[in-house]
Symmetry: C2
């Protein structure tokens, strides 16, 4: 490994956390976080295999690491070897003819997008972590991006992957890249959302798209959050799929846009103008039917500008005031969204909580994701009180504990309430793949 | 179980095969097929659990059975207890508001579609086995339907499922039906394509759609199979997604339509007329650019009429002549499709082979499914010679051994060539869930 391994205190400190707000809070307050024992930066599949086999031989737990932009503490692993795949960052093959790209897992999403853009293509995957996320981590977290309503989550882009199993064996790409196969259960789907517990992702084949030449941007104000949601429901179910739809409640649009109304932001993208125009006019009809009124392109531009740095924006606001922040995302079917929204907003009555903003993003035929941004007293007890109440509200009102951030250390307590005895079967699978219990131990798969 | 269990010779014979053409051929020739020891028809989750627990107690292998319409011998299991879920056939809940339906796994697809149609909804899943398939089997096979280009495969419709694990424990639905979640690896994806090896599916929550009120049907003749494929590629990649696209090569369209040209059949469906019209006009422009000429609606109507009974049609033709037939489906990226098509067609030079028809159906951004129909001498040696050559051709030229029929007894020999050492990890997972090796043993997961 040459010098590509370190256990210097500075390095260990850097790798002691991801972007989990509680870990950041602890760091700011000078509290200690669990430290890894070393960090290694392999440069090839063979080096990852060697590292994992060494870990197996010496019973050293290990945790994969890529961008480090997760928000749930999934990479925090006491006395583990951190295997950072960041130097495995090549584009192996772009097939312009077949619209896919094969990459090493450590490639930064931003770098991949820039590479693709230079050739007229795009991955169209824009999570808020865009500037810092890497492909392997996005797959392991089961990420979605801001354009997911049209382009899907990472699971819809992922054609195949290669991984190193927890015992050091290789889970290879299938022999041929194919659009779809019925060849038994797909092991790639176990790596999706595995958060480093079932292996280290080393390569990924992903769909890419030609950059759509025509677009439309607008925003609309509604009389209520519900009206706006129901308009988007009809838009999505009518196959008029926008690339981006975001419905902000009054509080959220006040803070973000200085406009205290329920706002819908919309971006469409198409490859032909007539198709775009037909969609825009149909969407316009639906929006008027739900009482929506045009609110102009400016809000869209403002959102586009700030969409990747909400966290740092919030930090500027809250840190000097002794406050802290958290985002909590859930998803639910249409009929449960309003209930969850209104019950969740009651969290702002809790002691130490100052604001609960909400918007809906990521729309599906059967429902949507609700995304809450909370500001509260910078205190760990307040933090966990909020989380306990939030998870109770979503679970009891039809939501999931996570739409796209994942479980990590943060949500371990609630995973059984959501998936029940499936957890025991998933744990058996972990044991079968990781008999020595070395792959990111201490997380929800044990 | 009352009288809902039988080991009468007639019953065992009925359950000794599915629609695997080799099994049918053996039956016609009077050869013996492996027999189960008994068949049980449970009526509830609790009864399935009880049966599986009894099997575990007495070390009796078992195999789930639903419609019995598979074509790969996946339900053939010597001296197994067949657990036929056909009587678990209720619609538990249709949410018109949220566009999903929760059903028991034994419900016939046709019955479910009729139920939904009566309420203005549709599953839009039309495999050729439509008249006889049941939901549980479609999930276990990883089925696609004729309208998949727009509506996706069964994996895109499946929101969640309940299953009885091979040890008799329950893998429940998650607490809430949600459109998407990032709560770790999803166990439902292991059941997709599991072919009865990882548990018995007992319930499924599936997306449904309102019946689209506007449609467009047409067919087009092209100068070559490749031109037609490239036209569909551009149509699909431009987001003009047709519900149905089928490209027939000259031989296939001769037999099916009496028109010896490369034919494209197209069906579009939309919820609004202006959107449909915009799409039709854009598609028309693309088709002309690739030299396609309108060939009229009649071929579409003819296809719609016969689309579910091709097998029986073929049987009428070939059986009296001492011939037999098989269908072989693969999928590949665009750049490999033509190569596979032309190499595969050479199979017709093999001894005992009389015809190799081909069409492409099921289109994706990165490629498509090729579907071959073969007629040959009704002889088992000829049968396996064809299969060996077919699998060599697809594997060596970028295809998958199965796009939607699955592995079963038929393709066991080639699964390792396609997925490599992933197979060993999948087998470990099977052992972890099925420690007594009782769940459909003898198939590719061991």
């Amino acid at each position: 490994m040459g010098g590509r391994c370190s256990s210097s205190p500075d390095t260990l400190r850097i790798y002691s956390r991801d972007y989990w707000p509680l870990a950041l809070l602890k760091e700011v307050k000078g509290e200690e976080l669990p430290l890894p024992i070393a960090v290694a930066w392999p440069e090839s599949l063979e080096e990852v295999v060697k590292l994992v086999k060494l870990c197996n031989e010496y019973r050293v737990p290990f945790v994969p690491y890529a961008g480090g932009s997760g928000v749930i503490g999934a990479t925090i692993c006491e006395r583990c070897l951190v295997i950072d795949v960041k130097r495995m960052n090549k584009v192996i093959h772009l097939s312009e003819e077949d619209s896919y790209v094969l990459v090493e897992s450590g490639i930064m999403l931003r770098k991949l997008e820039e590479f693709l853009n230079g050739r007229g293509f795009t991955l169209r995957h824009f999570p808020q972590s865009y500037p810092e996320a890497a492909i392997g981590g996005l797959i392991a977290t089961k990420s979605v991006g801001q354009y997911s309503t049209k382009y899907g989550g990472i699971e819809d882009l992922l054609i195949d992957l290669e991984a190193v199993a927890p015992d050091g064996g290789v889970i290879p790409l299938r022999r041929n890249i194919v659009p779809r196969a019925s060849t038994g259960p797909e092991i790639k789907s176990l790596l999706l959302g595995s958060e480093g517990q079932l292996g280290i992702i080393t390569k990924a084949a992903l769909k890419v798209f030609k950059i759509p030449p025509f677009d439309y941007k607008n925003s609309f104000a509604f009389k209520s959050f519900e009206d706006a949601l129901m308009a988007v429901k009809e838009i999505v179910q009518s196959g008029l799929t926008p690339a981006v739809a975001r419905v902000y409640d009054e509080d959220d649009s006040s803070v973000r846009f200085g406009d205290g109304r329920d706002l819908l932001i919309l971006i469409l993208e198409e490859y032909s103008k007539p198709l775009l125009e037909a969609k825009v006019s149909e969407i316009g009809r639906i929006i008027s039917r739900y009482g929506g009124r045009e609110a102009g392109e400016d809000y869209v531009e403002k959102w586009l500008e700030k969409r990747f740095d909400v966290i740092s924006e919030l930090k500027k606001l809250v840190v000097p005031m002794g406050l802290w922040f958290e985002t909590i995302e859930t998803a639910a079917t249409w009929s449960n969204l309003i209930k969850i929204h209104s019950k969740f907003k009651e969290i702002k009555k809790m002691r130490g909580v100052y604001a609960v903003l909400a918007h809906a993003s990521h729309f599906y035929e059967v429902g949507a994701c609700l995304y809450f941004t909370l500001t509260y007293e910078a205190d760990e007890k307040v933090y966990w009180d909020i989380w306990r109440e939030a998870m109770r509200v979503v679970l009891e009102n039809g939501g999931t504990i996570s739409h796209h951030h994942g479980i990590g250390l943060l949500r371990r307590e609630w995973i059984f309430s959501e998936i029940g005895p499936s957890l025991d079967y998933l744990r058996r699978i972990k044991s079968a793949l990781d008999p020595r219990k070395l792959s990111n131990p201490g997380k929800f798969l044990g």
